[in-house]
């Protein structure tokens, strides 16, 4: 009898450990997460529009039918990424997710405060490699540090009425995300800086 009770208690205690481990491991082992679902229909470092949210669209659950959504699946191993999103008339937002769907940054058109949202996305290592030059780190250049090398940028434009959906989609079609072509020169020798 004591043996049976001991077995049950040990089983439940071990079960608690299994539960904690499985909850913590799930984000890493899930095969049907949003990133995996978006991988077949997106290309790397390019803005791809998602199909409109309707009952036939089973890409992701809980899509907002009033939004036009585009995704840029990024990989920063080739260098920092430059993102340009023109602002639509109603509401435009850009959200950043890591490979494991951790929302680490989001900005909307009003907080960007301009007609075009322009962002530079880079890893922390690439950010610290930037030359500390005033021309480059000017105030109008917004730099975001990505905690992971790969991830998702989700661009949303709101269509306040169904008839305005083409306009929202046009906003997304005009946005771009690409690896920076004109790489800022890496940290140069300290000699020129001493003259200032």
């Amino acid at each position: 009898m004591i043996r049976l009770a001991f077995t049950i208690i040990a089983g439940i205690l071990l079960g608690g450990v299994v539960h904690l481990v499985s909850v913590l491991a799930l984000p890493r082992i899930a095969t049907q997460d949003a990133y995996s679902r978006l991988t077949p229909i997106t290309t790397l470092n390019a803005v791809i529009q998602l199909p409109a949210a309707d009952p036939a669209n089973t890409l992701m659950p809980y899509l907002d039918p009033a939004l036009a959504v585009a995704v840029c699946r990024y990989d920063l191993s080739g260098g920092p990424l430059k993102l340009t999103v023109p602002v639509s008339q109603a509401y435009t937002s850009v959200s950043f997710y890591t490979r494991n769907e951790l929302a680490y940054y989001a900005i909307n058109d009003r907080s960007a405060g301009k007609k075009v949202i322009e962002l530079d996305l880079m890893t922390e290592a690439q950010h610290s490699d930037l030359p500390e030059d005033e021309e480059i780190t000017a105030a109008d250049r917004l730099i975001i540090d990505s905690p992971s090398t790969t991830g998702l940028i989700v661009i949303k434009a709101l269509a306040p009425e169904p008839g305005l959906m083409p306009q929202a989609q046009a906003t997304l079609a005009a946005s771009s995300c690409s690896t920076q072509v004109d790489q800022p020169p890496a940290k140069q020798a300290e000699a020129p800086r001493g003259k200032r």
């Binding site: 077995t7 089983g11 079960g15 309707d54 009033a66 509401y91 950043f96 900005i107 907080s111 306040p160």
Partner: protein, 192 residues
């Protein structure tokens, strides 16, 4: 021999208890970090890096992308104000005011998170297209048959959920009570 048997039983029990509770918490959700106002529930921390492990597991398992905090917040409701589950065959009225936000959208989903097909292709409302009363309040009728005013069709499905998303809003992690975020009422007004 007997010890081996006991150990096997304990391990089998551990696997059943552990994985079973993980399955339960990721399908039903937990009360961790939730903000409940009336029938509406939100998880403000899912859009930040401070997300709790249970919400993270749920999100990756279901393949969702949570709304980032700088973007907005999503409130969902599966029952009316009297805790009666939302039934697509009944008439449900969503009325009142919404918290301060630049835009909001209200949409209807089945219990798997898909939109519900209807001939009108009406899956939700935005704050701009809604018909309002003279005082600025609104009334949305969620019903299977057509209704006057703001009609949101249910397609006659048995269980559904409503999701109210606020975009560009001060409502978020710091919100605690109804006074900060007055949410609309949900009332079942008639069942056939």
């Amino acid at each position: 021999m007997r010890l081996l048997f006991v150990a096997l039983v304990a391990l089998a029990l551990a696997a059943a208890v552990g994985l079973g509770s993980t399955w339960m918490t990721t399908t039903r959700g937990t009360e961790l970090g939730t903000l409940t106002i009336g029938a509406w529930t939100a998880r403000p921390r899912t859009g930040t890096v401070d997300i709790d492990p249970y919400s993270r597991a749920t999100i990756t398992r279901n393949g969702e992308l949570p709304i980032g905090t700088g973007d907005g917040i999503a409130f969902s409701a599966t029952t009316d104000d009297r805790k009666k589950p939302l039934d697509g065959r009944c008439d449900v009225v969503v009325s009142g005011v919404t918290p301060a936000a630049r835009f909001w959208t209200l949409s209807l989903y089945d219990n798997k998170g898909r939109l519900v097909a209807n001939t009108l292709q009406r899956y939700g409302f935005t704050s701009q297209e809604i018909v309002r009363g003279a005082d600025g309040g609104f009334e949305i009728r969620v019903a299977s048959r057509s209704r006057a005013g703001n009609w949101l069709p249910t397609g006659g499905i048995e269980r559904y959920s409503l999701m109210l998303r606020l975009y560009d809003t001060p409502v978020g992690v710091a919100t605690r009570t109804k006074r900060d975020a007055p949410m609309p009422q949900i009332a079942t007004v008639g069942c056939p």
